[in-house]
């Protein structure tokens, strides 16, 4: 298991050293959310009603931008092949890299969400719920995204294809993520049920994501 933490630590260190990727995702998140009032008009009632949806959809798009980087750099410089000759099963190696993506991108995006909520006049009472649901939901984005990143690893200009493959898989996360926040602001559903289902979806992708990503990588290094 120490190899798992070694790989996780290295990926996080690389994120810190190389920077850029996280900053770009955060900047993109900010810009997309800003575009919404400009497109829909500054009606604060309307904005506060659609805020959960806008925040989640913009978060998905921002995370999508950073997905190719999960495996791309390691594939280009040959690291991925050496990683494959380690004691650590490739399934755990892909899990470590997806986890690094969640820590370096998912968490910052989730923490930025309440700040952007201010721009959309989201009710103050919803803020803790907003952060909690996003923290519970974003692992699914990283781990399912890792599958898409692995599948399009060797596809030239695979970014658009990656979006096409991965966005439909994000629909359950989107639906329950928004439902959980709406519940907290007096929406029609119970918060607890949505939140638990959201967590279950994340756990499910935690299992299926690394396995499928490892299979896809194995096929491509051959």
């Amino acid at each position: 298991m120490s190899a798992f933490w070694t790989l996780l630590k290295r990926d996080l260190l690389l994120q810190v050293r190389e920077g850029g990727a996280v900053g770009t995702a955060l900047g993109f998140y900010l810009v997309v959310v800003t575009m919404m009032p400009l497109g829909l008009g500054p009606d604060l009632n309307l904005l506060s009603r659609i805020a959960p949806g806008v925040l989640w959809i913009a978060l998905l798009l921002s995370a999508l931008l950073s997905l190719p980087r999960i495996f791309e750099a390691d594939d280009e410089d040959g690291s991925l092949e050496v990683i494959a000759t380690g004691d650590l099963p490739l399934e755990l190696a892909t899990a470590a890299k997806a986890l690094a993506h969640w820590i370096s991108t998912g968490i910052p995006l989730a923490l930025l969400a309440p700040v952007l909520g201010l721009l959309l006049n989201l009710e103050l009472s919803a803020y803790p719920v907003l952060v909690a649901t996003m923290l519970a939901g974003t692992p699914a984005i990283s781990f399912l995204g890792a599958v898409g990143a692995a599948l399009t690893l060797r596809v030239r200009r695979g970014g658009l294809l990656l979006a096409l493959l991965v966005l439909p898989l994000y629909i359950p996360t989107l639906i329950f993520g928004i439902a959980a926040i709406s519940a907290a602001t007096g929406g029609p559903s119970g918060f607890q049920a949505s939140f638990l289902i959201l967590s279950a979806i994340s756990l499910f992708s935690l299992v299926i994501g690394p396995v499928a990503a490892a299979a896809a990588i194995r096929f491509q290094t051959q």
């Binding site: 070694t6 290295r10 280009e76 410089d77 040959g78 690291s79 000759t85 380690g86």
Partner: protein
């Protein structure tokens, strides 16, 4: 310890690259695969490293650690250096030692010394020249002890002095009972070195 390869068959897409290849490498022995481009040298090495699935035949490391897969007992040096430009030479080396060694005592200093990398230890790998990068990549061999070395064109972009450093390391590895399977155009100048000729005709005719 003995690396035994029997009747190895490897397909790449619709083509059969290796057809019924058998050879063995014993402890203290180096086997150098030679042959023209496309003869399958890289394919053989990558197959032994577990990066390519064989269509037939067996690959076994007799007398190795029974608990570990063969690739986990081998160092694979491919065409790419597997270095992160933003990490220093030492950080790169330490990562691979920790990742590949998984608990084994890593000898980073020794590895840096073996390839004359001490002056470069704290410099990010991105600043290095091609030859220096190759040396930093090869230092992985020393940092984590593994019995089988799989070297695919290890001397690429190395100058004569660096090739001698590599030859010394290989000689020392062999003296310690290690095994080396290499593909190279440049002779490593080893005392005990067997050569196996892979020809394009051989795999096509078979």
């Amino acid at each position: 310890m003995r690396l035994a390869i029997e009747h190895l068959v490897v397909d790449r897409g619709a083509r059969r690259i290796v057809d019924g290849l058998s050879f063995a490498v014993v402890a203290g022995d180096a086997l150098v695969l030679v042959g023209p481009n496309g003869a399958g040298k890289t394919t053989v090495i990558r197959t032994v490293a577990g990066l390519i699935g064989a269509a037939g035949g067996t690959i076994a490391l007799e007398g190795g650690d029974a608990d570990k897969e063969l690739p986990a007992q081998a160092h694979y040096i491919g065409h790419l250096n597997a270095l992160k430009p933003s990490l220093t030479v030492e950080e790169n080396l330490r990562f691979w030692a920790d990742y590949l060694g998984a608990g084994a005592a890593a000898s980073i200093d020794e590895a840096l010394a073996a390839f004359d990398l001490e002056p470069l230890a704290s410099i990010p790998a991105g600043y290095l020249s091609a030859g220096q990068k190759r040396r930093a990549c090869l230092a992985r061999l020393i940092a984590t002890p593994r019995p089988l070395w799989l070297l695919d064109e290890p001397t690429v972009s190395l100058d004569a002095a660096s090739v001698r450093l590599l030859a010394e390391c290989v000689a020392q590895h062999l003296a310690g009972g290690g095994l080396v399977l290499a593909a190279t155009h440049i002779p490593l100048g080893l005392a005990r070195e067997r050569r196996l000729e892979l020809s394009a005709a051989r795999s096509a005719a078979a």
